[in-house]
Point group: C2
Chain length 324, copies 2
C-alpha cells in the first residue's frame, strides 16, 4: 500500500502564497521522490474569492479557512498580519497538525506561546521563511550549529531600507529622494513605517535571538532606532570618514548558563567600507554568525521576494513531512 497523500492547506494567496501553490503543483513528483509522499494542495483560503488567482485551480479557492484547516495534514500560513492568522495557526496546532508559516510579526509577537501549544499537542511550528526569506539562517543556527555555541548574530536584514541606504551611499541620491524612489520601485510599502522605523528588522532579530539562545526575548527588548530621522548631513559625515551607514540588526549573549544576558538592537551604524555588512548592495541581505568553535560564518542572499520566501516555506514543508 502506498502512503496516503499529504493534504496541504494554504492560507493566503499573495506573492508568497501564489509561489508556494505553483511550486507545490509543479514539483509534486520531486517532493514525492524526496519524502515518499504525494503532496496535494487541499485548498487555498483567501479573503476575496472573486479575485482571479493566476496559476491556482479555481476549485481550490475558498473563504472558509477553518474548514480547510480542519481537513489538512499540514497548514501553511502565508496570509500575514496577526488575526485571523493567529487563530488559524492555533486551531491547526490544537488538532496536532504541523504549521509552516512565513509570518514574521506573528512569530515575533506570539512565537513562544505558539511553540508551547505545538509542544502540548505533539506537533511542530516552522518558520524559516519568516526570517530573511531564502537565506537559511534559522536552519544554520538551530541545526548546523546544534553542537556549537553561538555568541553573536548581526546583519543587514531589511532589504527595503538597504536599498534606500545604498542609493544614498553609492549613487549620491539625497535621502528623502531615495525613500521616494524606493517606494516607486516597490521596495517600500505605501506605509513604510515598518521598514524605516526598524520594526521589520526588530522582528527578525528577536526570532533569531530566541533560536540561538532559547531565551524569551520580545520586541520590547530591542534597542531600536530606524533610519527615518537620518539626515543628508549624517550621510555626508559617514562618507567623509570613509564609512557606510547600514541599518544593522544585532543580538549577542554575555555570561553563561543561568546568568545569561541576551541583548538585541536595531540601529543605523557607520561601518568601514570593507566590513562584510557594508558590502550589502541594493536589497541584498547579509548575516554574520559568530560561534565559539565555528568562528565567523557569513550568509548572504535574497531577503525578500515571493519565490525566494517560498523556497524556505517549501523546505519547511518537506522537512515536516520527512519527520512524519
Amino acid at each position: 500500500m502506498t502512503a496516503p497523500p499529504v493534504r496541504i492547506a494554504l492560507l493566503g494567496a499573495g506573492t508568497v502564497g501564489a509561489a508556494v501553490a505553483r511550486r507545490l503543483v509543479g514539483r509534486a513528483d520531486l517532493y514525492e521522490r524526496r519524502t515518499g509522499r504525494r503532496f496535494e494542495l487541499a485548498g487555498v483560503a483567501v479573503r476575496d474569492t472573486a479575485r482571479p488567482r493566476e496559476g491556482i485551480d479555481p476549485s481550490l479557492i475558498t473563504d472558509d479557512a477553518e474548514t480547510l484547516v480542519d481537513r489538512a495534514d499540514v497548514v501553511v500560513e502565508v496570509m500575514g498580519g496577526i488575526q485571523p492568522a493567529r487563530a488559524l495557526v492555533e486551531r491547526a496546532l490544537r488538532r496536532g497538525v504541523p504549521v509552516v508559516t512565513a509570518n514574521k510579526q506573528l512569530i515575533a509577537q506570539h512565537g513562544p506561546a505558539l511553540h508551547a501549544l505545538a509542544d502540548e499537542h505533539g506537533t511542530s511550528l516552522e518558520y524559516e521563511g519568516a526570517v530573511v526569506a531564502a537565506v537559511p539562517v534559522l536552519s544554520v543556527v538551530r541545526e548546523a550549529l546544534a553542537g556549537d555555541v553561538v555568541t553573536a548574530i548581526s546583519g543587514v536584514v531589511n532589504g527595503s531600507t538597504n536599498f534606500v541606504l545604498d542609493l544614498v551611499a553609492r549613487r549620491g541620491v539625497p535621502f528623502e529622494e531615495a525613500v521616494r524612489q524606493a517606494g516607486e520601485l516597490g521596495y517600500l510599502e505605501a506605509d513604510p513605517t515598518e521598514d524605516l522605523e526598524g520594526l521589520d528588522a526588530a522582528a527578525k532579530i528577536v526570532i533569531l535571538a530566541r533560536a540561538a539562545w532559547g531565551v524569551p526575548v520580545t520586541l520590547e527588548d530591542v534597542q531600536r532606532r530606524g533610519i527615518a530621522d537620518l539626515t543628508d548631513e549624517d550621510f555626508r559625515q559617514a562618507a567623509g570618514a570613509g564609512t557606510v551607514i547600514k541599518l544593522v540588526a544585532s543580538a549577542w549573549c554575555r555570561g553563561s548558563a543561568g546568568h545569561r544576558r541576551v541583548e538585541v538592537a536595531v540601529r543605523p551604524v557607520a561601518l568601514p567600507q570593507d566590513d562584510p555588512l557594508a558590502q550589502a548592495r541594493e536589497s541584498a541581505n547579509v548575516l554574520i554568525i559568530e560561534a565559539e568553535s565555528a568562528g565567523t560564518l557569513r550568509l548572504q542572499g535574497a531577503g525578500a521576494g515571493g519565490d525566494e520566501t517560498a523556497s524556505a516555506v517549501l523546505g519547511d514543508i518537506v522537512r515536516v513531512v520527512r519527520r512524519g
Copy 2:
C-alpha cells in the same frame, strides 16, 4: 527514569579529534540540555597510545578501536585515511550504530557504498565536517533547500591553495615562493600534492554534487586541473586583465529528472575582481549555491581548522542523538 548516557567512541585524536574530545567534555551540560541525553566519551582510539594527548583523560585512550566501536552508541571517525577508517565505519554501521565522520576522502571514494550499508542496517552516516569544515554547506543543500532545486554550486573550497593564490595576487609574491611560504606557515602539508593538484577540492565537490542531485558522481568524473603548473606569467596576464586567479570547484546540473547530467570540475579560473569568489582572502572558503527559487546564496567561513571542523562534527552528533 532518566535516559541512559550516549556512549561516544572517538576514532582519532589529531587536531580535529582533540577538539571534539575537549568540547564533548566541556559542553556535556549544554548537550544534555539540547538532546535530553548525557554525552559520555566512551574512549579514544589512537595508533600510538604512548603519545601524551593533552586534555584527554589517559584512561580513555586505547589502541583497540574494534572493541571501542562495539560498545558505542555513536561512532565518530576523525582518523583520516581510507584504512582502517573504512573497516571501522563499516563495523559500526553493520551494528546499526550511527557514524559521524569528517573524512573527506573516505566519503568521496566510498560514500555511496557506506550510505547503502547504513540504510541496510537502519542507521545513518553524517559528514558535514568532511566538506569545508564549519561552513554548513551540506546542511544547506540537503535540509534548508529540501523544497528547492539546486542548479549549480561553485566555490573556493581549498584554503591552502587560496592562501597561495592570495599571496601572489595581493602581495605580489612569486608563485613558487608563495608555495614555499604557505608550507612554512603550515597551510600546506609536507606533501602538498592533494591541495596543489586539486584532489582535496575534487573530493569536496563530488560530495556536494551527490548531496545536491543524488547522483553517483565519482572522483573520476571531475574535470580537474590544479594550480601546480601555473606560472608567474599566468598571474601577470590575469592581473593585467583586472582579474584574479582562484581555484574554483564547481558542479552543475543540466536537464531534468530522468535525463539529468551532472558535471563537476576543479580548475584555476581568472575571475573579475568583484566576483564573490574573487574576494576570498587568505585561507577563507566561499561557496555560491544557485537554486531555482532561492536564487543565489553565498556561504563563507573557515574551511579548515580543528575547532572549526569539530563544530560540524559536534553538530552532526547532536542531530543524530536528537533523532534517536
